[in-house]
Structure formats: C-alpha cells, structure tokens
C-alpha cells in the first residue's frame, strides 16, 4: 500500500480522539477534525485559551513537560468546549522531532471520558443513597423493636396501656416503612411514564383538597391561584399527583419546623401557563434552607425531618419532573421560606382529559 503524507493527514483527521499539536509558545499549530468541531477551528491561538478558556498557561502542563524531557506524559484534565460545557479528558503527549532530532512541537491526544465521570458520580450518589436508606430502615427497626418490647411487657403484666403504646409504635413504624418503600420504588423505576393527558389545574385542586385539613389543623393559611387554562401535559397522573403532594407536604412541614415567634404561616400554590410550559409554584414562608441544604436537595438521599421524612421525597419529585421532560428548581433563604418551581412541557391541542 503506497504511503504518503496525504494519507497520514487523512488518518490524523479521522482519529476519534481530540488531537492537537502545539509549538513551544503553546500555539496550536494543527488540530484534527474532532478537536476543531468541539473546541472551534482557531488554529494559531494558545491552547489554554482555546480549550481551557484561561488567560495564562496552566500551572501543570504535560506539553511543557514533554518539551523539557522528550517523554510521553499523561494526565486527566477538564476542558471547556465552545458551548461552555465541561469535557473531562485523559490526555497523552508525544514529542514531535525534526530531522536533527530536536523537539519542535508536542502532540496531545485526548480521550473524552465525560460520560465515564458522570457514571462514576451516579454510582457514588447511588452508594450514599443505599447507605442512607439502610440507616433510615435501622431507625424504623429501632421503633419496631421498641414497640415489640413494650407489647411484650403488656402481655407479661396484662397491662392494656403498654399493649396500646407498644402496638401504636409498631403500626407507626410499619407505616413509615411502607411510605419509604413506595418512594424507593418510584426512585428505582426506569420505565418512561405513560402518556395520558393530565390537566394541571385538576390535579392541583385535588391535592389542595387533600392538604386543606392538615394546614387548618396547624393554623397555616393554604391558598392557591390556579389558572383553569394552565394546560394539559402528557404523562402519568399518579406521578404528577405525588409530585404536587410532596411539594405541598414539604411546604407545610417547613412552616411547622420554623421556630420564629409571632409569624403567621402561609403556603401558596400557583399553577399557570407560560407559553408552551405549565408552571407549578409552591411557596412557603417557613424555615427556609441554607446553601448547603439547597445543593443536595434533588440529588442526594437527604432528610432534615429526622423521623418524619423518608429522605426520598424530592428525589422522587426531581425524577418525576425530568421524566416528564420538565425541570424543578428552588429559591430559598433561611428564615424566609422557600419557593419550588416545576416547569412541565404542555401537550398539543386537547382532545381528551384524564
């Protein structure tokens, strides 16, 4: 097979890695197609400006090391593509020598490992999820064990009061376990939701009715502004119902766990339409959250409610929102309250509503 420089360049072009060649001043003097597609075609610029969006050289640089010792160096780097997205890569360098053996350039070959990193993150959070669930189950077992102990005392001494106290503990903890397992099933389910027509205003009114007694019992004002034309989404009615229930339940809990004096608490549910999106907002003026709590809200097994939360509610809400093509976000300040906003894409022209 004849072998020419043109052949070599064709191969260079189609290698499914990022390849760039830098001179001693860190100018990119050549780059293959994949590199140009992701980081732009500006040959001649500094490498650090092109794929790290930096003003100066990187403190640790495998290209500089290779210029120095003529060896191959490897490292893991986080690059930034033209759209501003992070690209995790493993980079290997190699010296390019002229006929006299002097190093005139260094080639970088990088493998995109962004998806691998994302998978690792997912596994890590799965690990902490399982750990958190195990811990919660332990707490529930402790309640069950306590209930059984007290029931046994009741049998031994033939005392109704112990029997009742112990049995209530057993019932309460069995209920906690059931709630937890329902949430776990929601989290583990990988199928896509059914595509039924769900009216956001109808679900909102239903859930409002469900929570009205609990709000009234604790003197929390529960209000809503529900646009009857908020629209219809395609999805699983039960999921949307549980999403709204989680958010309203949390809002009431946030009011109950706040300890400021003389505050009159209110929870407001707003359902409206913004263009082709249905928007659900749940606002409370309860305890609020700090930045640390906000940051782990949707992604980690996490509860601020001790015995009263499963630690899974917002994981479920996040999953429901994203499975339906939507988003969920939160604004919150400690002592001020929180607002959760869910945006769901609306379905086309209505035919039949569930």
């Amino acid at each position: 097979m004849p072998h020419t420089a043109t052949d070599d360049h064709r191969l260079f072009e189609v290698v499914p890695c990022f390849i760039s060649v830098q001179d001693r001043e860190f100018h990119i003097i050549d780059a293959n197609r994949r590199f140009r597609e992701v980081f732009g075609g500006r040959i001649g610029g500094h490498c650090y400006e092109i794929y790290k969006k930096r003003q100066d050289r990187c403190p640790v640089c495998p290209v500089a090391q290779t210029f120095q010792d003529g060896e191959t160096h490897s490292s893991e780097e986080v690059l930034i593509d033209d759209a501003g997205k992070q690209v995790h890569v493993v980079v290997h360098t190699a010296p390019v020598r002229d006929d006299s053996g002097e190093i005139v350039a260094v080639m970088e070959v990088s493998d995109d490992i962004t998806e691998l990193r994302a998978l690792e993150d997912k596994l890590a959070s799965l690990g902490s999820l399982v750990g958190g669930i195990a811990h919660s189950i332990k707490n529930i077992l402790e309640g069950l064990r306590g209930g059984i102990y007290i029931v046994n005392l009741g049998f031994r001494d033939n005392r109704q009061e112990d029997l009742r106290t112990g049995w209530e503990m057993v019932e309460r903890n069995v209920a906690r376990l059931s709630a937890m397992i329902l949430d776990m099933l929601y989290c583990s389910r990988e199928r896509s939701p059914r595509q039924l027509r769900v009216s956001l205003s109808a679900v909102a009114r239903e859930v409002m009715g469900l929570f009205a007694p609990r709000a009234a019992q604790h003197s929390i004002t529960l209000e809503s502004t529900i646009d009857p034309d908020a629209g219809v989404i395609l999805g699983e009615p039960k999921d949307i119902h549980s999403l709204l229930s989680n958010l309203l339940g949390n809002a009431i809990d946030a009011c109950l766990s706040d300890d400021s004096e003389d505050k009159s608490y209110r929870v407001l549910l707003r359902v409206s339409r913004q263009g082709s999106w249905g928007v659900i907002e749940v606002e409370d003026n309860g305890a609020g959250m700090d930045a640390e709590t906000r940051s782990k809200l949707f992604t980690m097994y996490f509860s601020t409610k001790g015995a009263f939360g499963t630690g899974l509610g917002l994981l479920v809400s996040h999953k429901v929102a994203t499975e339906h093509g939507g988003t969920i976000a939160v604004r919150s300040e400690p002592g001020q309250g929180s607002t959760f906003t869910v945006r769901l894409p609306l379905a086309g022209a209505p035919e039949r509503t569930v």
């Binding site: 958190g132 811990h135 332990k138 309640g143 064990r145 306590g146 102990y149 001790g306």
Partner: protein
C-alpha cells in the same frame, strides 16, 4: 436504701425515647428524655444524670456539639455516655471516625450500642458503667 440511678436519653425520635425510657424504668432506673443537643445540655446541668445515652445522628448534628461541651466541662465530664450508633450512613463508622479525627482532645464515649438497640445489650452496657442501681 440506695437512690435509683438517673439516665438521660438524648434522641430526636420519639419512639426511641419511649422504648428506652420503658426499658430503663422497667429495670429500676429513673429516666429523662431530651430531643436535641440544647435540651440535653440543659437537662445534664439541671438533673445531673448518672449516665447519658446519645444518638449522634440527630439531624442538625447538635449531638456532637453536646458531647464535646459536656466532656469539656469539669463538673460533667465524669458522667458516662453510651453512644447509640448505626453501622452505615450518618452516625455510622465514617461519622464516628470523623468525630474523633476532628476532636482529638475529647475522650471517647464510655460505651457503644449498635442500632437497632437490643434490650439486653443496652442493659449490660449500662450495668457495667453504673451498676444495677435500680
């Protein structure tokens, strides 16, 4: 006749308080409950219990602060503490390890009982520390 020994239970779960209270009372101890670190601090100073059981994994970490303060207090540090720990997650080995690594000057608790608490295990630890003064 010797007075009953007093035990302070520090746990945010009402069912755990009910359980341990009943267990200790049944065996002749006097009992008080605290739901968080602040309540525990007040109760220790006021009631001067003979022993404290502590769940470190209370949500706001106030259990750790309570333990540190109590063990730093000349008047209270002699009171033995039984730590109730899970094996995973908050209050598990990682938490316990961190608990020590950041507080080398704080002595370790006098006893450990794993969750869920076995009544006989708990009583054995309590008896070892303060005797069967029921």
């Amino acid at each position: 006749m010797m007075q009953s020994a007093k035990i302070l239970i520090v746990d945010d779960e009402p069912d755990v308080c009910t359980y341990l209270s009943r267990l200790f009372r049944e065996n002749g101890y006097e009992v008080a409950c605290a739901r968080d670190g602040d309540e525990a601090t007040a109760a220790v100073a006021h009631d001067r219990p003979d022993l404290v059981t502590l769940d470190l994994s209370m949500p706001n970490k106030s259990g750790v602060r309570f333990y540190r303060e109590m063990k730093a207090d000349e008047a209270l540090r002699h009171i033995p503490v039984v730590m109730v720990t899970g094996v995973t997650g908050p209050g598990g080995p990682q938490d316990t390890e961190r608990f020590y690594s950041t507080r080398r000057h704080v002595p370790p608790p006098e006893g450990f009982v794993p969750k869920p608490v076995d009544p006989d295990d708990m009583l054995a630890v309590v008896k070892r520390l303060i005797g069967a003064r029921g």
